[in-house]
């Protein structure tokens, strides 16, 4: 494993190498070097399966984090590659040429986060939200509760307790 990391370090500007859950090695790379790196991992190092492509919205830093987890079926080992891109007019290079099923992940991310993947097949098609005309709902500045209350006729009489305030009231009623 260390040999591969050393090898990748020599060729690509990798930073922030860490360990995630279940012993997954996570590393960050510049967005422009991602596709060459994944190509190298797939062709030279046997990481032939794309397990998942997921997104995190770092609203405070004005960034999106894309995590590509690839799997080596012979060594039974996962490797996670993280990429940070700007939140404004977010756009990322498509990897559907490496793995066909990445197009589905990218289509979903386009719909839920509004990150564009130019050239990915069917990336503009509707996936789950038919006729959605609002902000992409998985962005953290989209207020789902407010949207649901305005749209879906909430039934009156529903009480919701804030957990922190409820426990404080229960444990320390005098304060």
């Amino acid at each position: 494993m260390n040999e591969i990391i050393e090898h990748i370090k020599k060729r690509f500007p990798v930073y922030e190498i860490g360990e995630g859950p279940n012993g997954v090695i996570l590393m960050s790379v510049e967005a422009s070097r991602l596709v060459p790196m994944l190509t190298s991992l797939k062709t030279n190092h046997g990481y032939s399966i794309l397990v998942i492509l997921s997104t995190v919205d770092w609203l405070e830093d004005c960034k999106f984090q894309l995590t590509y987890i690839v799997n080596n079926p012979e060594e039974k080992r996962d490797l996670g590659i993280r990429v940070f891109i700007q939140r404004e007019d977010a756009e990322m290079e498509s990897i559907h040429t490496l793995w066909e099923h990445a197009a589905t992940f990218q289509r979903e991310i386009k719909e839920m986060f509004g990150i564009n993947f130019p050239g990915s097949p069917g990336v503009d098609d509707q996936f789950l939200l038919e006729g959605w005309d609002n902000k992409p709902p998985m962005r953290r500045d989209f207020d789902t509760k407010k949207y649901a209350e305005e749209t879906f006729f909430p039934r009156p009489g529903r009480e919701t307790n804030d957990p922190a305030a409820y426990m404080k009231q229960k444990l320390y009623p005098d304060e």
Binding site: L129, E130, A148, E149, T151, F152
Partner: protein, 224 residues
């Protein structure tokens, strides 16, 4: 090099799918286009119940043979198959599953309903024939349940479809669903289960609610 011949559009269609004309028994000529999607343009009408003993007899007959559309949304659909297994045996109550909306009289909305699914549920409901009833399972259909603040699941079903019986729980067990069927039977026998008529009377209100959330309305107003 052979020149490209004029190929008719329906060359590769099966003969029964091509446009053709049919002569009726009275000599009228009917043009048929099998690939066109035909639907009835008429809006639903209120079917006034009969009076007296006849309506009571009909209600008894309706209550004793509830045919359920085998259609599941959300997590509650996993509670329906055991209902028809020997342990719970819904057949002894006259409840049975049917595969298509045309053959069934009860629509079970089993759990949370996404907007995308609501569109299909409305189509299924409108294609069912009178008399028809709706049973809603789970707290999601009552007030949204744990999805009350979701961007894509409806909060209360009775704004979109006329609900006869709600069964509370998350999810209700098959015993609860059997109790719900018995409740629906009582309701039908007492003559209160007029959901289809209510839907026909208040069609504008229902359609306004449905079109508020289904933004790409690409189907007829009332489709069946």
């Amino acid at each position: 090099m052979s020149e490209k011949k004029d190929i008719p559009e329906d060359m590769f269609l099966a003969p029964e799918n091509r446009k053709h004309t049919v002569t009726g028994p009275d000599g009228e000529v009917i043009h048929v286009d099998p690939l066109n999607d035909y639907f009835c343009q008429d809006l639903p009408k209120v079917e006034a119940p009969y009076k007296g003993v006849l309506e009571k007899f009909l209600n008894w007959a309706r209550a004793e043979s509830l045919w359920v559309l085998a259609y599941g949304t959300g997590c509650g659909s996993i509670e329906l198959p055991p209902l028809f297994s020997p342990r719970f045996d819904a057949y002894r109550f006259g409840v049975m599953m049917r595969p298509t909306p045309r053959q069934s009289g009860v629509l079970i909305i089993s759990g949370y309903l996404a907007v995308k699914t609501l569109k299909r549920a409305i189509r299924s409901y409108e294609q069912m024939q009178n008399p028809k009833y709706v049973i809603a399972l789970g707290s999601c259909t009552i007030n949204g349940g744990m999805y009350f603040d979701s961007y894509n699941t409806i909060n209360r079903l009775d704004h979109y479809l006329p609900v006869d019986v709600y069964i509370a729980g998350c999810m209700p067990r098959p015993e609860a669903i059997l109790a719900g069927f018995n409740k629906l039977k009582e309701r039908i026998k007492s003559g209160n289960a007029e959901g289809a008529n209510h839907y026909a009377e208040n069609l504008e209100w229902y359609k306004a609610n449905q079109k508020k959330i289904i933004k790409d309305w690409n189907m007829p107003t009332y489709n069946w």
